[in-house]
Each structure stands twice: as C-alpha cells, then as structure tokens.
Amino acid sequence: MADDKSEKKISKISRRELLRSAGLAGAAAFLPAGVHGLAEGEGEILPDEISTATAKQASRSALPQNLTAEETEILDAMVARLIPDDEHGPGAREAGAVGYIDRELGGALSSSREAYRAGLLALDRYSEYSREARFVALTEKDQDSVLFDLQTGGATGAGAGFLGSSAAFFNMVRGHTWEATFGDPIYGGNKDFVGWDLIRYPGPRSAVSPDDQRRLEQGELEPLRRSAYD
C-alpha cells in the first residue's frame, strides 16, 4: 500500500507523469501513427495496484528507501559478483540493480522484504563464520566461493539465519538482479542499456517489418536504446 508520503507525491505529480509511470500513456505513446485513435488519458484506468506502483515510481530517490545502509552495502557487493563489471562490459552494479531492488521492496517486491533482511545479514554472518571476514571485505574470489555455497544450499545449515535455504535466497536475489539488469529502464535498472547491450537485444520497437527482420538476421539492425515508455 502507498504510504502517506507517496500519496502526497501522487497528488503533486501531473496526470501525464502518473500515466507514464503506470505504463498507460506509455502504451498510448507506443502506438504506431495511424493506429492511435483515442486521446491520451481517455478510457478507464482500472486495476487498483497501478496506483501503488505509481506512487513508488514517483518517489524515486538516491537514498535507500527500504534497505538499511548495511543491507545495501552487502547487496551491492553481491550483485557486483553475480554480474560483474569485466571485459564483456558493465555489470549489475553499474546497471543500478541495488536501487531497483530497494525501491521495489516497497512496492511489487514487498513480500520479499523480510527474506532480504534476513538473507543479507545471514550472508554476512556466514561469511564471517566460514571466511573470517565480512562479505564486503573478502576478495572477489572468496566472495564467489561464498556465493557458490549459498547457491548450492551449502550455507543453509551453518546457523547463519537464512529463512529457508540459502539457495532460495540466492535464487531470489539472482532473479531480481536479472529483472533489474535486463528489464525496461523505466524501473530504474538497465542503466545506459548495459543489460540489453550485453545480450545484444536490439531494443523495444513498436513494429518490426519484414525488412527489419531481414536486417536483424543479417546483423544489420541498429539497436534502439530506448525504454518502451519513451
């Protein structure tokens, strides 16, 4: 549910912004010329959950909103190993994955808030037990070996405090990191299209003609670096 602060923000932002972040005007803007018959903002806006998502979209800020500073630091180190910055280009940290997860934990991912709190602290505790240092202080190689323990479930029984298995926590963070890195940049991740460039996705298009498809097949289709909502 939207809290009081974000409710206030909603009332201050324009209808255009509200529609834009809810994806409705985005859909309208996305229509190819000639098909777009109705004026923007007409028609019913129905599902209730949109207003909640909108509130969170509208109240973006640089400071963490739902994670503590300590949790943010651990998560940041973790996503930087899941998709590292390396010779193949920037990774999840550069894509803005932490900001995405933090914001969405106050919205669409709110049911995962407790699993993040417990899991990030458990990751740190497991790191101290098994590698004698906080996760953020480990070398990249040791961080990777800790994450491998998490992924295989090997860290579950160490008394570190994972809710359920360490693998479930790992897979949850991995899943959200992938959403952030490869999803539409409207959500605040995939900064500078680093995710789409990595997998050579040529970008959202309103229509792909037979010629466009042929160019794609010949490796000649120029990537469109844009959000579907632009």
């Binding site: 899941l82 990595l198 792909v208």
Partner: protein, 568 residues
C-alpha cells in the same frame, strides 16, 4: 434482498473466449442477452511491451480475485491439496483470450472418435486401463461449419492443408476436410523457422505454419500483427490479436441486444422447485443482484464452470446443480504440455520480435497419424517450434551444462548465446481417468469465503510414454537443423493449474457419464447450457480455444433453433 434486474432471455456467465462468441449468434437472432463479467473493459492502451510488467509480474491477469480463486492441486486422493503457482485465468471482458498465445487449431477427426477408432484399428485392449474416454456425441464433420464460422467471425490466420479433401502440403495434410481456406494468410516465418521447416522436410515430415487468432493483414478494420515481441502474456497494443473483446463482443453489442455488466462476480445459479434454472446471483462490491433469465449459459474457465455448479446446490440438486448423476467434476484432463525439449544452436536465431503463435508445426506424430501397432500407447503430439524471446527470459536461459549461471564465465556465455536457444511446445494427447477429478476444496476459500476447486489428477503411463516418444522426435528434428545441445524436461507427473483444462462438465448422450447433452445443455436442468473446454471429452494434441468457441457457437445456434423447447 438482492436487487432484481429485469428478466433477460439469456444470461451468460463469463464474457471471455467462449461466452464472448456465444453472445453473437444469440444477439443476432434477436434474443435479449445479458453478459455477466467479473472483470472490466480493458483496451489496447493498457498493454505495453514491458517484460517486467507482463511476464515477470503477470499483469494484468494476476489480480487478487483470481489469485484467491486458484484451485488447489494434488496428485492423488491420499494427499492434501495446496495452492501452488499462479492462475492464468483473466477476469476482463474478453477474458483469457486477451493474453493467450492465440493458437487457433481445429481438432483432428480422430480426436472425436478415440474409442471407436482405437478399437477398429488396434482392438479394445488398447484403451488404457482406468480411462473414462468416450467418443464425442458429434464428429468432426458436424463441427466443421462452426469452426468455419468462428474462423471468420473471430478472424483466424493460417494455411489450409485439406480443402474438401484436396490436400495442400503447405498446410497440415492431417487436418480434417475444411470448407475453404483461412480468411487470412499465416503469420510469417523467420529465417530460423524456414530452416527448421527445411530440416523437417529432409526428415520426410510435412512442416506447416500454425493457425492463429492474430490478423496478418487488415481484417474487419483491425490491423495486422506488427511483430513487436510482447504478445506472450500481453494484450495486443494494436488490436491485431482477435480476442473476443475486439471481435464478437463488439459485433453483438452493435445489435443492441447484448448488455455487458462488468465487475459482476457471480456466486450461484438460482434454481426453482421444478429443477429449472431461473437466473444468476452476483455481487458488485457489497451490492447483491439477481439477474433473472429464461436460459443460463455458464461460460467461465473450466475450473469455474465446475465450481459454479457445485456451489449452486438446491433442493432439486443437493450435490450441486446438474450433479444428480455425480458427473460434475469428472473426466478432468489438463493438457500434457510439459516434457519440453530445448536446443542450443551455433548461430543467432533472431527471435527477438516473434510471438508464440509464429512457428512451424509437424503433425506426423500427433493423434493416430502414425501406426501404433507396435507402440505401447495411443495418441501422440504436435511438434511446435516458435519464435518468442524477451531480454529477461533470454538472460535466464539454460546454460546447457556449459558453466555456471552467474559471474564472469556466465557473462561470456550469455553474450554469445542469448539469441541462440529455442524451446519447443509439444502438446500431447491426454486422456480422462476415473480418479482424475475436480471437486470443492475442504479448506481453501476465495475472497467471498466460497470454497475453491481442488484438482486431484496425475498423468498416467499412456501420457508419459507419448511424452518420451515425442521428445525423441523433437531431438531428431533439432539435430537435423544443426543444434549443438539438446535438453529435455521431465516427463511430468501432477496436473497443475493450466490454460488447457478440459472436462468436468463433459458432453455426451449418456446422462450416466456426462453432464451436458450433445448440444451443450444439461441432462438434468434443460435450460442450463455450458460453454468452454469443460464440455470437451478429449484433449487432442493442440490448443483448445477454437474448438471451445466452435462448440459455443453451435450451442448458441441450437438455443436459437430450439428456443421454445429449451426456454419453456
């Protein structure tokens, strides 16, 4: 007391793929029709090419109401059922036809006569033990005119393979004879799909494009598909997908004889002392209403049709409406869609702007299109390779055992391979069995406190043997096309909640084993009809919607023709 609306001739419960079609012939015949729909009107501006919204978070069909109506699932009667996973049912005018893949197949003639054809060709011992399968009360030829009507009124693209007995190998030579060509040509193929078709031909198979409820050119004022790659779980942003909310429902509204009441959450069907139905009770928010009608047509999802009957008990029907023979909820099947096969190719497939209905099909191994004399099963499956890829899904692809799924090594892998893997969709014959049933869950309740459906069902040996056999065929096809890795899914076990849910109100002449008669009307309550895949007695090896729609039109036409007799 609920508010009482003025009486309708026909009330349809559910304005989705089936109800949205049935409304049209009724309204055109001058009957006053009320359509009760739990959801609301959406339109093309509600649909965005946003993978997080559509595919990760399943908007718009994951809403509180439908999630609370998720059936519980268990393998067999000794287990406790629980709600797992999501629910693909969509509440909206147009229903699940808004976000479906829109593959619009006719069943093959064999699917209507599984028992008699199996007995004739292989002997009665080949019907699997415990199966309750029966021949349909109608054959393919009897349904053909309604397939033909729906293909035109809804708008289906495809390539015919058999026009009045003339075979055309550009289409499916195994299909039943059709009166004429599809109203629109098929969706285009990509270079990769052309390559798969060539490989099928070199194996001696007959590849062809599948039929889709998607325009490929301007049709009835709606544009052709623009191939933007977000059709899967998305509504169409240009109205090229022929969902009923842009096809048959608007046409029915134009007659002036259809009233659609959105947000109407139907709770029970009302029954009089003679056992005839008198209308539907529904709520909008906290307000209760009663919609009286001379005839009631149930047109919800399979699970909801069964649930509505079981919830509507009365003096005349103590165990649920139309259930005095204990048949409601029986003969349930969910299509065996699992046991997939995926492959990795050493070149880009250029699949970013495809859709699941854009693909190449092979029917050689479906139904009884091949000799089963020395095979330990009956039936088969349709092989379908399609073009459908979005960035998050692509980045989550299997690494085919070639390394970890994160870290630097993974980045190197995904950079090369994100556009190089492909899944197949192999729909296989599923039979009904004595102990695969739907009933009301003893504990799980929906938002109104009403029990949800409980699925007790598992695949049996016949289904698992088909699955293994089809995986071999699919692997053979991929290898022929140059795949460097092939990966197989498990053969399946529990039948979970699915988009392809059949049975529960099966159609047949014998009231001891079927809920509705050959026209789709209850054997027990003569002015109650049932629409949707819940009346189907076999699954076939292909998507159910077009058959459900053809049957709906036929039931509606019968109602018009026999109005005096049915409405009383």
């Amino acid at each position: 007391m609920p508010r009482r609306n003025s009486e309708a001739d026909v009330v349809i419960v559910g304005m989705g793929a089936a109800g949205g079609v049935a409304a049209l012939p009724l309204a055109r015949a001058g009957l006053r029709v009320v359509g009760l729909e739990a959801g609301t009107w959406l339109d093309r501006r509600d649909f965005v090419p946003d993978e997080i919204r559509n595919n990760v978070r399943d908007w718009p069909f994951i809403v509180k109401k439908t999630q609370q109506e998720r059936p519980t699932v268990r393998n067999n009667a000794s287990q406790t059922a629980s709600q797992v996973g999501g629910h693909p049912m969509m509440n909206a005018v147009g229903g699940t036809s808004i976000h479906y893949w829109a593959q619009s197949w006719r069943l093959n003639p064999w699917d209507f006569r599984v028992v008699s054809e199996t007995v004739r060709r292989y002997g009665g011992s080949r019907i699997p033990a415990g199966s309750t399968v029966e021949d349909w009360p109608l054959d393919y030829d009897e349904l053909e005119p309604f397939y033909d009507l729906v293909e035109r009124e809804v708008g289906i693209s495809g390539k015919a393979g058999n026009i009045r007995g003339e075979l055309d190998r550009r289409g499916n030579p195994f299909e039943g004879p059709r009166a004429r060509e599809y109203p629109m040509p098929p969706l285009r193929w990509t270079a990769f799909l052309e390559g798969m078709a060539d490989s099928a031909r070199s194996l001696g198979w007959n590849p062809f494009p599948g039929p889709a409820a998607i325009n490929t050119e301007i049709y009835e004022g709606r544009p052709g598909c623009v191939y933007h790659g977000h059709c899967n779980k998305g509504g169409c942003h240009v109205d090229a997908k022929s969902a009923t909310y842009v096809t048959t429902i608007p046409k029915a509204l134009e007659t002036g004889n259809l009233t659609v009441i959105p947000r109407a959450h139907v709770t029970t069907i009302e029954v009089d002392g003679d056992g005839r139905v008198t209308g539907a009770n529904y709520v909008i928010g906290n307000d209760e209403y009663f919609q009286p009608a001379k005839v009631v047509l149930l047109a919800g999802y399979t699970y909801e049709n069964v649930r509505m009957l079981l919830l509507s008990s009365s003096r005349a029907y103590p165990d649920g409406l139309s259930n005095n023979h204990g048949q409601v909820g029986r003969h349930y099947m969910s299509h065996h869609q699992g046991a997939g096969v995926s492959a990795l190719f050493p070149f880009d497939l250029s699949s970013w702007y495809g859709l699941p209905a854009q693909g190449v099909a092979v029917d050689e191994w479906a139904d009884d299109n091949f000799d089963h004399s020395n095979l330990p099963f009956i039936g088969g499956g349709n092989l379908w390779v399609y073009s459908d890829r979005r960035p998050i899904g692509a980045a989550n692809m299997s690494t085919y055992g070639r390394g970890p799924n994160w870290g630097s090594a993974w980045k190197s892998f995904i950079r090369e391979n994100a556009d190089r893997s492909v899944s197949s969709y192999i729909q296989k014959t599923t039979l009904p069995y004595e102990t695969n049933v739907l009933d009301l869950d003893p504990t799980a309740k929906d938002s109104l406190g009403l029990p949800v459906i409980r699925i007790t069902a598992s695949y049996r040996e016949n289904e698992l043997r088909i699955a293994a056999y089809l995986q071999d065929k699919m692997e053979q096809w991929y290898r022929e096309a140059g795949a460097v890795e092939v990966s197989r899914g498990g053969l399946g076990n529990t039948m979970g909640v699915t988009t392809h849910a059949y049975g529960g109100t099966r159609m047949g002449d014998d009231m001891e084993t079927n809920v509705v008669d050959r026209w789709g009307f209850s054997h027990e309550a003569g002015n109650l009809g049932v629409l949707g895949a819940s009346v189907m007695g076999t699954s076939g090896a292909r998507n159910p919607t077009l058959t459900a729609q053809a049957l709906s039109w036929r039931t509606a036409q019968h109602l018009v023709d026999a109005w005096g007799e049915i409405a009383g």
